[in-house]
Symmetry: C2
């Protein structure tokens, strides 16, 4: 039986060590700004997106050097995720005071610095993706990864989804609209995390297709679970304000289907993602376990 907790702890350490090494260091003219970026980057987090990138790479290629080559990509994904949390928490957006059990970036550093810390992290992601020091991946693969991530993080993906989310607050929303928001705001970057690892590993078009479906499906599970946790957890358990969706009148899975049916839908999505991998060998076990892990969070 694959030990997911052991696997996650190992990969999380690997990612966090790389983030610490690769991220700008806090000194010189820009010390305060760099400190604000580092604060949100190192305040915690499950590192799901970078780990999905590494796991997808290892699923395709057994080359032991691949993980090292993928680490800058994995770190770029975490920088983008972290920037999105900083901007989402801003007073003009969700206006949250708490994130991962700590004050949000703007509570700690002020609003101007929080906007800039987000801008800096987003830009730094693309700095990492194109940094000439990292020669482990072919140029063509690096460009393809960069485009996959930029597309998923941008206006037709994560940023666009957040705009729809803001726009939808406090009004009736159809289930179709909810699905569009979820898949763009959260799903797109999760799928891009999986794909970027697979592209770096030289995956065939058929493998990339399957992993895209896997990514979309665990992305869906992830979103459903996030909605569920907002209802069923305490603020202390979440590390961010619980019940915030209801407070902002946001459409959610539990609001549409109730808690029990929603829980079942999350489990179905997790199972569907595992079935997508049926033709993959044992090297896909981490991806299978990650799909289970995402839903286990609800229990």
């Amino acid at each position: 039986m694959f030990d997911i907790q052991h696997y996650l702890a190992g990969k999380r350490k690997r990612v966090e060590d790389a983030l610490d090494t690769l991220m700008l260091s806090a000194g010189g003219d820009f010390a305060d700004h760099v400190a604000a970026m580092r604060y949100s980057l190192f305040i915690g987090g499950k590192r799901v997106r970078p780990i999905l990138c590494l796991a997808a790479g290892a699923c395709i290629s057994p080359d032991p050097a691949l993980e090292e080559s993928l680490l800058p990509v994995a770190c770029a994904l975490e920088c983008i995720h972290t920037y999105s949390l900083i901007h989402d928490d801003l007073p003009a957006m969700d206006d949250d005071d708490l994130r991962r059990g700590h004050p949000t970036n703007h509570k700690k550093f002020g609003e101007a610095e929080a906007i800039l810390a987000g801008d800096g992290l987003l830009t730094f992601a693309f700095d990492l993706l194109s940094d000439p020091r990292f020669t482990g991946l072919a140029d063509s693969a690096r460009l393809q990864i960069t485009h996959t991530i930029a597309r998923a993080a941008g206006s037709l993906g994560m940023v666009g989804g957040q705009a729809l989310d803001m726009d939808g607050e406090g009004r009736e929303m159809s289930f179709k609209e909810l699905k569009t928001i979820h898949s763009s705001k959260t799903g797109a970057l999760i799928t891009a995390s999986v794909l970027s690892g697979a592209i770096g590993a030289g995956g065939t078009p058929a493998q990339l297709d399957a992993l895209q479906t896997y990514g979309d499906t665990i992305g869906l599970a992830f979103q459903i679970v996030d909605d569920l946790l907002d209802v069923t957890s305490t603020t202390e358990e979440l590390g961010k304000t619980a019940g915030s969706d209801a407070e902002h009148d946001k459409a959610t899975y539990p609001a549409f289907f109730g808690v029990e049916k929603t829980r079942k839908m999350a489990e179905q999505a997790s199972q569907a993602a595992i079935e997508v991998l049926s033709s993959f060998p044992d090297s896909a076990d981490p991806l299978r376990a990650l799909s289970r892990y995402i839903v286990e969070r609800t229990k």
Copy 2:
């Protein structure tokens, strides 16, 4: 005599047509968000950065197909510049109501959407730089351009400079600090605009070195002139709030040296930039004229 006005009008049209074609189109789920991005992108602007990119490319290589290949890069530079203006104008930053003679993005679309329009434009720049449809530049050149731009736009460049600028408001600042802010906030992206064109054209290390110095020097001229215009122009002439530096207690060249000396310093920088190009052939005439044009703005 090189006709700079004719040159600028032609290139501006070329860049704006390309921006209109390449930028996401305003329809579908994300129509409102895309409209907010397009608003700031097409509200005006001299398009100095994209034109510098094209001019630097043409200075190195006579290949007529090069300009077409550089257009996505030129557009990416304008997307990054536009995002930086949107975020700089936010209430938490400079809190400006007017930009290019029109309401700022947050005045028109609200603060949340303005933050997201900026995030979307920044991300879209990297989407353009890595878009597989554009095959005119070698992969290695595209990665080098991407890294040059990301470094200049990020935490050690434009974003870091804006953080320093915010941090310095309302307190005494040394001339050294002012220079650091100017060169990071404004100079870095101007130099990157020049370099990205030169890299795309296959410039030699010696050519890139010279053009880096040219970029740094016109960047300096540009900053000095910006400081000067804030003092000597009306709001109507500027299209943004005049006298805003003094109102925010910002350190500026005129505050340190007075208007006359500052004007002279701008002219010296412009002249120095032209001297850097002395070993370049006639193909550098647009760059020479651009250096003059930047200072002419003060008159």
